[in-house]
Symmetry: C2
Subunit: 461 residues, 2 copies
């Protein structure tokens, strides 16, 4: 499995003719960064890495691979967390970061056209410079790309207010398995003329088409921001606050939850010190953003929440970033202690507290010594369950957690996708009929099964 598989010489020559010698990579050192993902849990050998420089080149590469029956793994910033962006069985890796064209902002429609390889941070800066906002935001913003975030329908910290990536999609340009290009980039926000392929491709994890560009809807800028870090007794109390303020505070941007074990880990691996003298049962990070300063509204709203035990407010950017560090440094701090199993789940808000109260002991019972760290987007019922301890191929804890989620009416993937990592559990929350319909669509658009094989459906699909 670790041997680099060889491509047929004619195929290799055809790929080089399309993308240019420099962009067809089989040197092990150069290929390495494309073969292991950010989690370090997933890695494999590519037969070759191809980095096309345009949609036409993507189409030509797909055409070559299609005719030769060679499977392809599309890759953006390689920040995915479910093993869908690295090769498994000697596939061709299609590196898409050279598709980095970024159009002028159309201020009339508040839209922009971005290539699949544009990073989220660059897109955000571009929008901000025009007085607008690209509201999809996530910790991996410096590497994650437009194409990757569409393929995974990425969520992040502002879904509560703005929805996930699919809510930004006005149009898409994509290459199908046979190399044909579908495109609907006119920027029309109302266009009911046939099936909405953009919405089908969003979240399909590179199994139906390769996204090469998108027309994206921006929103008004919200330059004024107020942030509060709260200490509360437990998840139940956090949910009570969520319910109260989501109805009273209009500018609510984010409500994130985490716990003391995570904060301790963050303090161990960064320069942070614990925010409160007495560790609370649950931390809540609440942020509002608006065209006017929302501080007073936020302070007033929280003053009416008896659940708040401790609180720290921040109105300037530096203080705000300090509060956010407790939340955002979770990932790197966990990574510093080992390679976690990263499970990203949603629960109905009605069963979320029960899940949080139960999951740790279930994991401990399944894998003695395993350490689950929980954090996530409370406003969306979305928790990230990171489990340190089990070996990368030990799925016992995963199995226990995902079955618990399903039994409580949740989903085994909130925002990361199914990928390779969760394919064996898809049946827990999608019915046989659902999966049959999905497979039929997959076969229709990719009859040879060359697009990201194994992802969503598993390798035996």
């Amino acid at each position: 499995v670790n041997e680099r598989p060889r491509l047929d010489a004619a195929v290799l020559a055809a790929l080089r003719a399309v993308a240019g010698e420099a962009h067809v990579i089989d040197d092990p050192e150069l290929a390495a960064s494309y073969e292991t993902d950010w989690t370090r849990r997933f890695s494999g050998r590519a037969s070759v890495v191809v980095r096309p420089g345009s949609t036409a080149e993507v189409a030509a590469v797909l055409s070559v691979c299609h005719d030769a029956g060679i499977p392809v793994v599309p890759q953006g910033g390689n920040t995915g967390l479910v093993g869908a962006s690295v090769p498994r069985r000697g596939e061709v890796v299609l590196g898409l970061t050279r598709l980095d064209g970024l159009g002028d902002i159309d201020t009339v429609s508040a839209q922009v056209t971005a290539g699949a390889g544009v990073t989220i941070a660059r897109l955000q800066d571009h929008a901000t410079a025009a007085g607008l906002l690209y509201p999809v935001d996530l910790a991996s913003r410096e590497s994650a790309t437009v194409g990757g975030t569409i393929a995974t329908n990425a969520g992040g910290i502002r879904v509560l207010r703005y929805g996930p990536t699919r809510a930004r999609l006005v149009g898409i340009e994509a290459v199908l398995a046979d190399g044909s290009i579908v495109s609907r980039m006119g920027g029309l926000t109302k266009d009911n003329s046939g099936y909405e392929l953009a919405q089908l491709f969003a979240g399909s994890e590179g199994t139906l088409a390769i996204v090469t560009a998108a027309r994206l809807q921006l929103v008004r800028a919200t330059p004024h921001r107020a942030t509060a870090l709260l200490g509360v007794a437990d998840t139940e109390a956090a949910l009570a606050i969520l319910q109260r303020i989501r109805h009273s505070v209009t500018d609510l941007d984010a409500i994130e939850a985490f716990y003391h074990d995570g904060v301790e880990m963050v303090c161990r691996h960064t320069s942070a010190t614990p925010p409160f003298a007495t560790p609370p049962g649950c931390y809540l990070l609440v942020e509002c953003a608006g065209r006017e300063d929302p501080s007073e509204r936020l302070v007033n709203a929280l003053a009416e929440c008896p659940e708040v035990i401790e609180s720290a407010f921040a109105t300037d950017r530096a203080q705000q970033q300090q509060l956010w560090r407790y939340r955002e440094a979770h990932t790197e701090s966990i990574n510093a202690e080992g390679i976690p199993h990263k499970l990203d789940v949603t629960l109905p808000l009605t069963t979320l507290a029960e899940f949080e109260a139960t999951v740790r002991e279930r994991v401990a019972a399944a894998v003695p010594g395993a350490r689950p760290i929980l954090f996530g987007h409370l406003g969306d019922g979305n928790l990230h369950v990171n489990i340190l301890g089990p070996a990368p191929d030990d799925d016992r804890a995963t199995d226990v957690v995902l079955r618990l989620v399903a039994s409580l009416g949740g989903s085994i993937s909130a925002e990361h996708g199914i990928g390779i990592a969760k394919a064996p559990w898809l049946h827990l929350t999608r019915s046989e009929a659902d999966i049959a319909a999905m497979r039929a669509i997959k076969r229709a658009l990719d009859p040879g099964g060359i697009l990201n094989p194994g992802v969503i459906f598993g390798h035996d699909a």
Copy 2:
């Protein structure tokens, strides 16, 4: 074509066994209302009308039709405008209004589960009673159903603020061509586990699945409303106002445009009198709605618009409804003068004024004596072009208008769908590759082609 086609006796018996004698209708008088749509332009004979009372019955009906290879036309409120809800060639009409279950409002998630047959008006009232809002709103609200508005991804007057029906869809229950039921009704707002069938089915006009129920996201109520009717010089001026206020007024709910020929017609057929002594070149209806009274903001914002020549403000419900009548009574007034060709198009805001200024003479040149009446949702670039004069099967004016739209970068259907009416022009704004991908999906989910045949792709598909 006008003869009622006969179903095989065994099939008829099977349908009766599923839905009950009373709900399998072949009496011509009882069937008539299912065979002609609201436009009166489209009508045909059904072999039989079946009115299942549950999702299981829909599945059983589909199963019978699937096995016998009998095509099915799904029908909700029969308020569609593109001929997709009435039989064309002796299909079975599947009347879905008995699926009228409406769940309690979940105030924690601000969601509700509604059967496909629930009317939009009933859903709106149900949400309002719980202090929430179902923001999809359209003139046909008393008849249009949840299922029909999902199948067409209905837009309406508040798309500007809340998006079309697809933006409301948290989950869907639907029956596939073979009678299998797909369902994802857990109400999770974040759920990236496989393909998002709900978003694929939204706007697919009954060609991929029969929607039987949906989980819908409600929004905060906006009990305070301010409405202004403006007279401006022309469409250019109206667009200038749109640009200015869409960035300065946060509570903007609707911006509708219409013209003097339409207002004259409304005054002829209703008790309304012209709103302004001197008819302006373009009328603009602007509405804001919020949790606090938006009147002052609206008045102030419009005071900064030099384009405003005439204005009338309304803050109480009765006055507001009077202003809205000028806009909403367009449809009934046009119908009172004949059977119009109803074309619903979007233009980029940059070419909309050019379209409005050009379309009348183009239509007149194509069909001497034809009378085009324009009105629509200016904020979305969406105009409804109603053409009186041409016979129902005379497509010359349609052809001219849709080609003009395509040449200006617009779409031939903004919110009504393609249906039967626009299928011959689909290629104007969807590419060959787009249509091929759509056909592949259609074949995958409905290999026998029994779901709403002829719709979107035409009868030769």
